[in-house]
């Protein structure tokens, strides 16, 4: 359980920023005015700290 949780918390943002990117390789729809591809990458950059925070919780580091 613990190991699977860590795997998911680390893996989801990595997959979102790599293998998932070819599937959102479009300029439209625009999100907040940004082309979809750029908005997708920016979104995952913003939420990654939450995933790493979750990792720290699972590991009892904070």
């Amino acid at each position: 359980m613990h190991a699977r949780m860590r795997f998911l918390l680390a893996g989801i943002p990595i997959v979102a920023l790599t293998i998932a990117v070819p599937f959102v390789n479009r300029a439209e729809p625009r999100i907040f005015g940004l082309p979809l591809l750029l908005a997708w990458i920016a979104f995952w950059v913003i939420v990654t700290p939450a995933f790493v925070w979750g990792l720290g919780r699972v590991d009892h580091r904070w």
Binding site: A10, P13, I14, L17, T18, I19, V21, P22, N25, R26, A27, R30, F32, G33, L34, P35, L37, L38, I41, A42, W44, V45, I46, T48, P49, F51, V52, W53, L55, G56, R61, W62
Partner: protein, 478 residues
């Protein structure tokens, strides 16, 4: 000429001011190797954040990323993604590097190889690859510095002389202060860079287009294909993007100065917190993309290496000299401050791993600091001479840095997280990986659009695991 004097005056004042600020802020000037090379392992979360940000965001981030945006468009987005992926790996890796560093009193990146694998030839090989690949990386920073000074001087002053003078000043500075000086100077550098990027990334699109959103409206009409990646196997297409983000994300903390920064933390939680929060800093890359796209719409037609200077062209043409001065000052610090961290790590590697471990020279603390400082000065001078003598051919030596350093990653990751890892496996993988990476990259071979470094890393990991399974493990050192 008045313009050139005022903007160059600002650059000069900022560089001198940064050095003075750092000198006054230092409470003690270090003089044990622990103090001089890894800041006495005393850096807290904020100070380490500043140091890491100071090392990671170099003049390449500034010029190269905007240049890629201008020249290629969407492939530049990989720069925002790979750092973020790098920090996720860093959450697992950095605390382990810190821990073994603390327990064994490690100072340099090759020290890790001695500590984990207990193998002198492997550590020496790592030391040589690190040391040789750092010098061209420093000369790249010198070229960046020269570009900023050329623009600040409106092309009317000898920027090479200016670059030499400011570089000598910064080398003397790190000679005197060590890693703590680099961290203090990074505070000013970071503040100025954020200010300059807010300006070029927000003020320029607002003034010329109304807002970044309307700037993208114009991009959609004028260059729609620049906003997406090319097809799967195209050069810089989607396969290239995925393999490059994975490769550079895995290799993100493999630079010898990054390993030294991990040693310098006060405790492991400082590193975990930085891994969590540093992606926020990646967001400023958005501003760089805005600046690059704006420059493409405002000043089209630049080609070749001139694209790297696209946003400087805009600032120089349309804004007063003091604005140009501050933007160029931020850029100059982006070249100078990471250079200090790079020179320091190269000097410490030569002093500790080559002179000390191999030839038993300068083993006492006092002599080791003296030798490291001497080497900082000598390597600084060497980088300067290399840069003046062979400016263009050095670009190919950079391939060794970008493609070679990442190949150290399996030695770290497997070494920490797989007990069966053996010296023979890691060494074979490493040597094969570096050879293949440099060979493919130097011939620009990229089958199916895959980044050549990624192919080499795959070979490296495969060999490291296979040969580790075939050879016997000694009792693991950690």
């Amino acid at each position: 000429m008045v313009n050139a004097v005022s903007s160059l005056g600002i650059v000069f004042t900022v560089v001198v001011g940064t050095i003075l600020f750092a000198l006054f802020s230092l409470r003690r000037i270090a003089m044990s190797p622990q103090e001089y090379i890894v800041g006495g392992r005393g850096f807290g979360a904020v100070f380490l954040w500043v140091l890491l940000a100071g090392e990671i965001y170099t003049s390449f981030t500034f010029l190269g990323a905007a240049g890629w945006t201008y020249g290629f468009g969407a492939p530049a987005f990989y720069i925002m993604a790979y750092g973020t992926v790098g920090y996720i790996f860093g959450y697992f890796l950095l605390p382990r590097i810190w821990q073994i560093g603390k327990e064994r009193g490690l100072l340099t990146a090759p020290d890790f190889f001695s500590a984990r694998y207990g193998n002198k030839p492997l550590a020496t090989f790592a030391a040589l690859v690190y040391a040789v690949s750092i010098l061209p990386y420093v000369t790249l920073q010198l070229s960046g510095l020269q570009i900023f000074l050329t623009y600040a001087g409106y092309g009317r002053v000898d920027a090479q002389l200016g670059a030499i003078i400011s570089f000598v000043a910064i080398v003397l500075f790190v000679f005197a202060t060590g890693l703590r000086g680099t961290a203090w100077a990074s505070i000013i550098k970071d503040a100025l860079v954020i200010g300059a990027l807010l300006f070029v990334g927000l003020a320029i699109p607002i003034q010329f287009f109304g807002s970044p959103v309307t700037m993208f409206d114009q991009m959609m009409r004028a260059h729609p294909s620049a906003l997406v990646l090319g097809s799967a196997t195209a050069p810089k297409g989607t396969i290239w993007y995925v393999s490059t983000v994975l490769l550079t994300g895995i290799g993100f903390f493999m630079g010898p100065h990054s390993v030294a920064a991990a040693y310098s933390a006060k405790d492991a939680s400082v590193l975990r917190r930085n891994a969590m929060l540093l992606p926020v800093y990646q967001l400023i890359m958005l501003l760089v993309f805005f600046a690059g796209f704006s420059a493409l719409l405002i000043a089209p037609g630049l080609t070749g290496t001139a694209v790297d200077q696209s946003f400087l062209v805009v600032v120089q043409r349309f804004y007063p000299s003091w604005v140009l001065g501050f933007v160029c000052a931020a850029g100059a610090l982006c070249s100078l401050i990471p250079s200090t961290a790079l020179l320091l790590s190269a000097a410490s590697i030569l002093a500790k791993n080559i002179a000390g471990d191999l030839f038993s020279i300068a083993l006492s603390d006092r002599n080791r600091v003296i030798l490291t400082r001497t080497l900082v000065a000598a390597l600084g001078l060497g980088a300067l001479v290399l840069w003046i003598a062979l400016k263009t051919t050095l670009v190919s030596m950079l391939l060794l840095y970008y493609n070679g350093i990442t190949q150290f990653a399996p030695a770290f990751f497997l070494g920490f997280f797989w007990r069966r890892t053996t010296t023979a496996g890691v060494a074979t993988g490493l040597i094969a990986g570096i050879t293949l990476a440099v060979f493919l990259a130097s011939r620009s071979i990229a089958p199916f659009g895959i980044n050549p470094g990624f192919i080499a890393l795959t070979l490296n990991v495969t060999l490291a695991i296979t040969i580790s399974l075939l050879t016997k493990t000694k009792e693991p050192a950690i």
